[in-house]
Symmetry: C2
Subunit: 224 residues, 2 copies
């Protein structure tokens, strides 16, 4: 059975990416990161989603000793979303940006894929309803593919590990509809950047989620 | 003062890269990885080299839960060098290869560089006297530069973090000569893949080092 590494954050995008990978017939190995994120409960969500999907998972603990992101530092306030930040990449992306986060995650996924002979890496990156992070954009993934071709043994031997971003051009509502169809357990997912017991409803991530469910004409089980 | 991140392993290549960076006027921040390597004493070497050079350093601990490299797994025998492996990339590179190692290291360096506003990342990669690892080759670094352009905020804003590989086309003897000139404390460096108290003299890394000192007509202080 062909194998895939799935980057699983615990949010609804990565959960949907996992169910897409399963639906395409991959044996999925989920990679979950404990990187000091403020919303640490997403790790528990990711674990539960992997278990629900009956997939193996690894939780990798990494510590970024540098500062500057509100997602890693409780002293920095997480901003509320503004319309200008919602749909395009600007120089003023929110302070929730963690420099190089997806680059780091992908590099571990690549190492894992090469070690176990996986053919693909799935990542739920999205460049439509997103906070403008550079490492969520299609151009970045195109560039990263060349790193695989040149920097791994598999790449040198002419084979390839494919990086698959099935959600990159979808709106949040479309992602939710796909997820619904595939049976993604939305009740187990977690999106809010703040680490409280209930979604705050005000951060980027909550706003995108709420609007997505509204546009998909579905109810978010987390708000039930 | 312009800043650079220097990937410091404790070997003589990365130590020389550090001294080149210093010589070019950079304030150097060294990044050292504790990644479960068998030759863990190289971490101590790296720390001492950074201290000797009066540079700040961070030691990042990362655990790769996947298997398959003799550098991470004591149960796998570290091979002795053969001539066919010494000068070109083959499909049969030694089992000391750690999938994606430099890709992972670079991704952390990139995150660090972006967080602290460093202009450059120095890495002592070498594609002449090396074990054929794909992530030591010039083409890989060219590909990785595009990841920076597309996947970081700095790249998007038109600025750049330069990845500098000043040793990539040099022989080990040439590296040793440059290092000697710049005052690299070779007595603090460590190259042997085996974790004993003295260099084994038989692994790839020892062979390249011995030959380098011999060709440079210098004595290796580790063998004094």
């Amino acid at each position: 059975m062909k194998k895939a590494i799935v980057l699983l954050s615990g949010g609804l995008d990565s959960a949907t990416a996992l169910y897409i990978a399963k639906n395409r017939g991959y044996c999925c190995l989920c990679l979950i990161f404990d990187y000091g994120q403020r919303h640490i409960r997403e790790i528990l969500s990711a674990k539960r989603i992997a278990q629900k999907a009956k997939c193996a998972f690894e939780i990798l603990k990494i510590k970024l000793p540098w500062e500057g992101s509100s997602l890693l530092d409780n002293r920095i306030k997480i901003p509320q979303v503004t319309k200008s930040q919602s749909h395009k990449v600007t120089k003023e992306i929110p302070n929730t940006y963690v420099p190089g986060r997806n680059i780091i995650f992908l590099s571990f996924a690549l190492s894992y894929a090469e070690a176990v002979g996986a053919e693909a890496i799935f990542i739920g990156a999205n460049a439509v309803d997103f906070s403008g992070y550079p490492d969520c954009r299609p151009l970045f993934y195109q560039a990263y593919r060349k790193v695989i071709n040149t920097g791994t043994l598999l790449g040198l031997s002419g084979k390839d590990i494919r990086i698959l971003t099935p959600l990159i051009y979808k709106s949040k509502a479309e992602i939710i509809k796909v997820g619904k169809k595939l049976g993604v357990p939305f009740e187990l997912t977690w999106s809010c950047y703040r680490g409280s017991s209930k979604p705050c409803g005000k951060c980027d991530s909550c706003i995108f989620r709420q609007r997505g469910f509204r546009q998909a004409k579905l109810k978010d089980p987390l708000l039930a």
